[in-house]
C-alpha cells in the first residue's frame, strides 16, 4: 500500500516538475518574442489555440506526435539496455522508403494483404537497419553511436538520393503515389469504414483538415507492448540488467549479446514504423524531407519521457503540441526562428529540471538517515 502511495507521489512530482519547467521556458520565451515586437500574449494564445484550441487542433496534435512517440521509443528501449541509438533517423528513412515502394509497386494485392505487407516490410527493414549496429556491438564491440551515425548517412544516400531518383516518374522529389490498398486508415475516413463505421458518433472525425491516422493508435500500442516487454518479461529484465552492468549480467548467466541485438532490432523496427506511418498515412508516398529530423527529436523525446515507454508517450505529445502550436504562432506573426527557440527552451528546461529531481531524491535519501 505504502509502495503505491510512493509511486503516485513520484509520478506527481515528475508531472509537477515538467509543468514547472514548461512554464519557466515560456516565461523566458517572452523575452525572445518581445525582440520581434510582437505581443507575447498573442503569441502564446496562438500556441495554445494551435495545439489544443479546438477538436481538430487536438487531433492534429496527436497526429504530429505520432512519429515522435515512435522515434522516442526507438531511443528509449536501447537506452535501458545501455545503448545510445542515434540511428532512429536512418531506421525511419529505411522503413518509410520500403513501405512507400511496396505501397506503389504491387498493384493487384487486396488491401488486407497489401497494407500489412507494406507495414511489416517497412518495420523489418528498419529493424535490420537497427539490428546491424546491435550485431556489430555484440560481436565485434563496434561502438553503436559511430555505427548508427554512419548508417544514417548510408540510409539518406540510399533512399533520398538514390532511391527516389530510381523510382520517381515526375519532377516531384518523391516515389510514385501509393495505392489506396496500402494507405493507412485516416480518422476522417472512418465513418465509411466497414468496421469502424459502426462505432457510434464516429462521424465527428469526418471534417476537412483532420490528418490523424491510425498509426497513432499503433504508436500507443507499441508503447504499451514495450512497457510490458521491459518491465514484465524475463527478456526485458535481462535487457535492463545488461544496461545496468553488462559484466554483472553476463556473470549472472544472462546472454548480453542476445539482449543487445534484440533491443536494437526492436528499436529499429519501431523507428521504421514511424517512417511507415509518414509514408502510408501522412504523405502517401516517400518524399524527400519527410523525415524532418524526427529521429533526432526522438532523442529529446526519450530523455524527457525518462526513457520509460509510457513517459515517452507524454514526451511525444509535448513535442507534437509544440510543433502544431508553433505553426499557429507563425500566423500570429512570430517568425519561425523564435518558434524554434521557444521549442528549444522547453526542451532545455525540462531536461535540466530533471537534475533538480535527482537532487531532491538525494536530499530525501539523506533525510531518511536523520
Amino acid at each position: 500500500m505504502n509502495n503505491f502511495v510512493d509511486k503516485v507521489k513520484s509520478i506527481l512530482t515528475n508531472l509537477a516538475l515538467s509543468l514547472l519547467s514548461i512554464t519557466i521556458a515560456l516565461i523566458f520565451g517572452v523575452f525572445f518574442i518581445l525582440l520581434t515586437e510582437q505581443s507575447p500574449i498573442t503569441a502564446y494564445s496562438a500556441l495554445y489555440e494551435g495545439a489544443f484550441g479546438d477538436f481538430r487542433a487536438i487531433l492534429n496534435t496527436l497526429w504530429r506526435s505520432t512519429p515522435l512517440i515512435l522515434t522516442g521509443l526507438a531511443v528509449a528501449l536501447p537506452f535501458r539496455a545501455g545503448l545510445f541509438n542515434i540511428g532512429a533517423e536512418g531506421q525511419l528513412l529505411m522503413g518509410g522508403f520500403t513501405a512507400g515502394v511496396v505501397g506503389f509497386y504491387f498493384t493487384n494485392l487486396p488491401a488486407f494483404i497489401h497494407l500489412p505487407f507494406a507495414i511489416l516490410a517497412g518495420m523489418i527493414v528498419g529493424g535490420i537497419w537497427g539490428g546491424l549496429p546491435g550485431f556489430l556491438k555484440a560481436k565485434m564491440d563496434v561502438h553503436e553511436v559511430i555505427s548508427t551515425i554512419m548508417l544514417n548517412n548510408i540510409a539518406i544516400a540510399l533512399t533520398i538520393n538514390y532511391g527516389i531518383n530510381y523510382f520517381r516518374d515526375t519532377g516531384r522529389q518523391a516515389t510514385p503515389r501509393i495505392l489506396q490498398s496500402a494507405a493507412l486508415l485516416r480518422f476522417n475516413d472512418m465513418a465509411d469504414h466497414f468496421i469502424f463505421g459502426k462505432i457510434p458518433f464516429i462521424e465527428i472525425f469526418e471534417q476537412p483538415g483532420i490528418r490523424l491516422h491510425i498509426n497513432f493508435i499503433f504508436a500507443i500500442i507499441t508503447a504499451i507492448i514495450l512497457w510490458f516487454l521491459l518491465f514484465k518479461t524475463t527478456l526485458g529484465y535481462e535487457m535492463r540488467a545488461v544496461g545496468h552492468n553488462p559484466d554483472g549480467a553476463e556473470y549472472g548467466g544472462i546472454n548480453a549479446s542476445k539482449g543487445v541485438i534484440l533491443a536494437m532490432f526492436i528499436s529499429g523496427a519501431v523507428a521504421g514504423l514511424a517512417g511507415v506511418g509518414e509514408a502510408l498515412g501522412t504523405h502517401l508516398s516517400f518524399m524527400a524531407g519527410m523525415d524532418a529530423g524526427h529521429g533526432f527529436t526522438g532523442i529529446a523525446v526519450a530523455l524527457i519521457g525518462l526513457t520509460h515507454p509510457i513517459g515517452v508517450i507524454f514526451g511525444g505529445l509535448l513535442f507534437g503540441a509544440l510543433a502544431q502550436g508553433g505553426l499557429e504562432m507563425q500566423f500570429a506573426g512570430v517568425p519561425s526562428d523564435i518558434v524554434m527557440i521557444i521549442q528549444a527552451l522547453v526542451i532545455f528546461f525540462v531536461a535540466s529540471l530533471q537534475v533538480l529531481k535527482v537532487y531532491l531524491a538525494k536530499r530525501k535519501a539523506k533525510g531518511g538517515v536523520e
Binding site: G209, M287, L360
Partner: protein
Amino acid sequence: MFKKVLTLSVVFAFIFMVVFAAAPEATSAQETRVGIVLSTGGLGDLSFNDAAYRGLQRAESELGIHFDYIEPADPAEDETALRRFAERGYDLVIGVGFQMSDSLEIVAMDYPHVKFAHVDEAFPDILDNVVSLNFAEWEGSFLAGALAALVSETNNVGYVGGVDFALIHRFEGGFYQGAKYINPDIEVQIRYADDFGDPARGREIALGMYDDGADVIYHAAGGTGTGVFEAAEEEDLYAIGVDSNQNHVAPGHVIASMLKRVDNAVYETVESVVDGTYEGGQNLYFTLADAGVGITDLEELDVEEIQAYEDGIISEDELEKIREMKEELTAPHAAKLAEIEEMIIEGEIEVENWGEIGRPDEL
C-alpha cells in the same frame, strides 16, 4: 519539498492561464490579403523562396496589399498552413515548391472560392481555382549556352546538372541548343552530380571539365553549383550561374546568370487578383517574352551586384572586378544576345523543351 514544488507549479500554471486566457483576435481591413507558404529551406535560400518573397514585398509597396508568410519546419505542415490561410479568408494563397503540389490540390478542393497559386510544378488536371506558375528555363538557358559559346576560346563548354530528371533537362537542353546555335562544332560536356547540395562534387566535376578543355561551365545544380564557381576561381576560367543573380559569388569568374523571375510571376499573379483579372485553371509558363526568364545584364552592373556590395558581401575591388569582366568579356556579345533574344521572342528560333520531349537520341 514535494509539496513546495507542487504548489509552486500550480501557482505558476494559474498565473499563466489568467494572463494568457483572453486572446485578442487580429482583424484586418479590406485590403487584399495574400498568404504564402514557403518550401522547407525557407528564406535565405538565394533561390525561389527569396524571389517569391521579393515579389510580394514589391506588391506590398506598389499595390498596397498585405501579406503573411509561413516557413514550415516539416513538409507535413504544408497542408495545415495552406488550409489555415484559406480558412482565414485570405484572397490568394501561394505554395512554393514541388513538395507542396499535393497539399495545395487537397486544400484548393476544399476551398473552391479561395484563389491559389503554385510555384514551380505543373498540374496534369489543374483545378479552377489554381494557377501554376512555371518558367521556360529552356529559353533562358539557350541564352546562357549562346553566351558560353561566344565567350569560349577553346570551343568547348560544360554543363553540370543537379539530378538527372525532367525538370533539370530543361536547362541542359536549352544550354546545348544555344551553344550549338552559335557554333555547330562546339563540344558540350554534360555531367550530372546526382545531388543539389554537394559543392565538393560540383568542384570535382568542374575541374575535370576544365581539364578536358572547357573554359565556360553552366550549372543547374543548386548548392552543388558553388563548387563549380570555386573551380572556376581556381583555374581562372569562367562559369554561369542559375535561378537568381549569382555573379557576385565568384566575382570576375561568373560571367552571367540565367534568371528565373519568380518575383515577377508572383507579383503579376497578385496584381491579377487585385484588379480582378485572375483566371484559375491554367498552367502558366513565364517566358523570355514576358521577362519570366532571362539573363543578367552583360554591359552594366546589375542591381543585385550593387546590393551585394552595399550589404558587405563583396568588397569594392570585387565589384570593380565584375565591372571589368563585363566590359571586357561579355559586353562585346551583348548585341548578338539581344538579337537572339528577339528571335526567340518572335519565334524565329524555336527552343525545344527537353524536359517534355526528352533528350535527343544521338546524345
